[in-house]
Structures are given as C-alpha cells and as structure tokens.
Assembly symmetry: C2
Homo-oligomer: 185 residues x 2
C-alpha cells in the first residue's frame, strides 16, 4: 500500500495524488486504504517520512565521499538539491505545509546537517556559535535553491547546471559576498 503510494506520487505529484488511484494500483477497493491510514493526509505523511529517510541517506552518503569537514558539508548540501531534482514530487509532498510534525524523520535529516556543522566548528573552519542556527542558514540556502529549481524558476537549466549553481552558492555562503576590501574588520 505504502509502496503503491510512493510510486504514484512519483508519477502524479501531490496534486494528482489520489486515494482511489493508490487503491487501484494496489489492486484493492477504493476504500481499503482507510484500513491502514486514517485519511489522505496520513498516507501522504507516511510517503513524506519515507522521503526524508532517503534524503538523509543521500546526504550522509555524499558527505562520506569527502574528507575535510567543509567538503562534507558542501557534499551534503549538493545531495539535498540533487534529491529534489531526482524526486521533485516527493520533495514537494515532504514540505507541503500541514505536516509540521515534530517527532518525524525530517528532524533526523536536520540533525545530520547540525552534525556536519559541528565538525566544521571543531576543525576551525566555521566560527563558534549555536550550530543549530548555522545549520538553519545552510538548510535555508539549499532548500531555496531546490524549491526554485523544482518550481521551474531556473528555466531551461539542466540538472548539472543547477548543481553547478548550488556549488557556487554554497561556496559564496562560506566565503561571504562582501569582498575583503570593503570589510570593516
């Protein structure tokens, strides 16, 4: 049932995601889903939770391909954007309001980010301060890139071009947009 739901969301997106169609694919009556989930929202939440797991694994795998702390953080960020490009409908469902559930799989993915930030701080490549706050900044940046790309706001861009831009943006946030010559300190 959950498997059928995951396949459907990949094809139809959250908009075309329909309880009756899920049931049809699972080969059961239009009504059977209610045995496993309370309503449409709960099934979508289960799909989203599975998506967060996959996102988290992708980020960890990408980070593990790098050696230095900063490279690991950048790798995870790129994996975040790449996930959104690979599974745009899934990604959309994961952040479709309504499911601000706290104890979810999304929090785990965020913790991965926090851990990567802390490693940078330990290595001295990121300043002291609340790692959670820094993680939110990093999250916001890659989330914005991912959302804009999925929404078609980078018209005509290939996957490679979006990822190239993401790398540029991440590095810009590392080094700052203001040039040295114009800094007060």
């Amino acid at each position: 049932m959950l498997q059928a739901a995951i396949e459907l969301i990949a094809e139809a997106g959250p908009e075309g995601f329909t309880l009756r169609e899920v049931a049809r694919r699972a080969g059961v009556s239009h009504n059977a889903p209610y045995r496993h989930f309370q309503d449409r929202a709960e099934l979508l939440a289960a799909v989203a939770s599975q998506g967060f797991q996959e996102l988290n694994q992708s980020m960890i795998a990408a980070a593990d391909k790098q050696t230095d702390a900063l490279g690991r953080l950048r790798g995870a960020g790129l994996a975040y954007v790449d996930f959104a490009l690979r599974r745009p409908e899934h990604f959309t469902a994961m952040f479709d309001a309504a499911m601000s559930g706290t104890s979810d799989e999304g929090a785990r993915a965020f913790q991965t980010l926090v851990g990567l930030i802390e490693a940078c701080q330990k290595g001295g490549t990121m300043p002291a301060g609340d790692p959670v706050q820094f993680a939110r900044v990093a999250w916001s940046l890659v989330h914005g890139i991912a959302k804009l790309a999925v929404a078609g706001r980078f018209p005509g861009w290939t996957r490679a071009k979006v990822l190239e831009f993401a790398r540029f943006a991440i590095d810009a946030s590392f080094h700052g947009l203001i040039p040295q010559s114009a800094r007060r300190t």
Copy 2:
C-alpha cells in the same frame, strides 16, 4: 472575479481554492469563471501575478527606507520573507510549479533584486561578477527561509523571530560562514 479569487486564496490556500467557490463568492453561477479564464490554472496564474506585484512593491518600499546599498538589499530580503509570512497561501500559489511562465510579473520582482545587487557592486560592497548570479544566491536564501517558515519547519516561531533569523542569515551570507583565521587567502 479576480478580487473574489484573491480573497479566497487568502482563506483557503491553493489546496482549497475552488472555481465553484470563487463563483459563489462573486455571486455568479459555478460556470461563469470560464467566461474570463480558460481554466482553474489560468485563474490561479492571475492570482499569482497579482501577488508578485505586491511582493515587488513591498521589496522596493523596504529598500527605500535604507540609505546604503547593502542595507537596501537586506531590507528587500527581509520584505520578501515578511511577505511570505503575511500571505502564506498567496506565496504558496505563486511558486506552485506548473507556472514557469517567462514573461510574468515574477521576472520583474527578480529584476528588482538584480538592481540592488548592482548598486552594491558599484559601491564596492560586493565583488565584480554576474549580478544575476549573485541575485539568484540572495533569492535562494530568502526563498528557502520563507518556504521553511511557511511549511511550519520553524515550529512555534513568532513572525519577529523568523525575521530576526532572516537578518542573521542574510548578514552571514554577506560576511561568510568561514572565520578569517581559517581562510587561505
């Protein structure tokens, strides 16, 4: 008709946005909207276009309250986030895939951002390089913050707290996350 649609989206969101309900509010038959718009998507596009106009005006007004180029850019960024918090459903509709229309009001809002970046470059508070690329970075950051906030990913945060975080994130992108001591150059 468009007015009724704008009011409805504010109450129901893109999800609950219904052609029949719009018609009901406008006091016409469920079918009348088809006289003015080809289908549901076209009416939503009109709502989105109006939203981009308002967003653009808010950004310009916020920038004009500041004197220095960097402050103007930051002001516009904060206005972007604030708009999303004030009109979350409207904001969602504006970026609900499908409408990647090129010649739209959204491009104008983006041009406002590009202009603010160019002013920073002229003042020497931002390095030379394609201003469009820098504008995309700035856009991605505030868009990510706005989307995460609207999706309920900052649970329990007040409007003021989100804006405070947005200011922190914008300034971090100005100065860079990597501390001076760890820079190679």
